[in-house]
Symmetry: C2
Subunit: 218 residues, 2 copies
């Protein structure tokens, strides 16, 4: 009996590799489609309010079909959050060093960008709040880790500014970083509730300008 | 046939009035007990995640017994939010005028007070986020109205400061008020996620001190 998985010639091997690669690409595209649908449903309903049934229906899949890709609702939420974090990190190079107030400017750009992506802002707002009020929430670790990473990263960049003399040496860089991300989060809530009257990027920029004046040496 | 509700002497009238008053007090106490239990359950699960069955059980009531007082889960959430807003307004006299930066000081006190009330902070955080991401949420109107009132009230007090010359005339008082409540909300999330490392009142006080320096004329 021949092994159907084993190619019999170089040409067949080539064709099979192409087939696998097409299969992987299709699998990846299907996963990304699921993540996009799940993002939208989590964003409007939170983790608790979203149902696997609704997400499966939105993807045109059966529930077992969806659960084949993501075994639990918690796995799906985690995958959505990690996917979005990865896209943002790639887009805004947030892991590259940006000494001193250049790091603050980067977050002004991110908020300007987010003002066109209410679905994404909703996702982070609702999941962060759910995780904040419930220590057993599946995104608790993600939320705690995300702030640690954001605050640690900005504080480190601000300390580079202290070292190069552009930022005052007496500035508590961690405290400044906490205030910056608090402001970003708080403005998001007001903007989502009242998008026509709340100029989220303008208010954030004004705040960052003021922080910049306060912490720089010049 | 005598009317059992009609007292036959002054003494009886007195006793009945006392009985009614006792009955009203008992009814009021029962309602407040329900609101306290509901607050705790809404605070940890949000509106979507909380169930009438769980709240009834926490109150030692049957579901029909609970629904006699509050016909729907939405009614109960609204009552909890209004009850808390009323208690806060009474405690902190937030409706009294506090010209200029005195109004900012008042919110520093409120944040210091809230740092002892994580349940209440959780309630406002989760319900505000749920309402922000979902226009059909039963607390949407409450959330929009709450910001309007808070921001309008603080901006009005800051304008009194402009009039008495203590605050610079070029200050955008509404923008400052928006930033103040954004900071308050954003710090709450970080504090709930990491209460041991985030000094919510200290960070808020530092922010308000900085805003005060920025907007005052002296």
């Amino acid at each position: 009996m021949s092994n159907p998985g084993r190619p019999r010639s170089r040409e067949q091997a080539h064709n099979q590799a192409q087939g696998e690669s097409r299969g992987q690409a299709r699998g990846q595209a299907r996963k990304e489609h699921i993540l996009a649908v799940a993002l939208k449903i989590f964003a409007e309903n939170g983790y608790r309010g979203a149902s696997i049934a609704e997400i499966a229906e939105g993807c045109g899949l059966s529930q077992p079909g969806l659960l084949h890709h993501f075994p639990t609702k918690a796995d799906l939420l985690t995958a959505v959050l990690e996917y979005r974090d990865r896209l943002d990190a790639e887009k805004f190079h947030v892991d590259d060093p940006a000494p001193g107030t250049a790091a603050l400017r980067r977050y002004v750009e991110i908020v300007e960008h987010n003002a066109h992506l209410p679905g994404l802002v909703k996702l982070f707002a609702i999941v962060t709040s759910e995780a904040a009020v419930n220590p057993a929430h599946p995104a608790r670790e993600w939320a705690v880790g995300r702030y640690e990473k954001l605050i640690g990263g900005l504080a480190a960049n601000l300390r580079l500014g202290v070292e190069d003399g552009s930022i005052r040496a007496d500035v508590d860089t961690t405290a400044v970083a906490r205030l910056v991300f608090s402001m970003m989060d708080g403005l998001q809530s007001q903007w989502l509730l009242n998008p026509d009257q709340v100029d989220m990027p303008g208010l954030f920029r004004a705040f960052v300008d003021e922080v910049t004046r306060e912490i720089t040496t010049s």
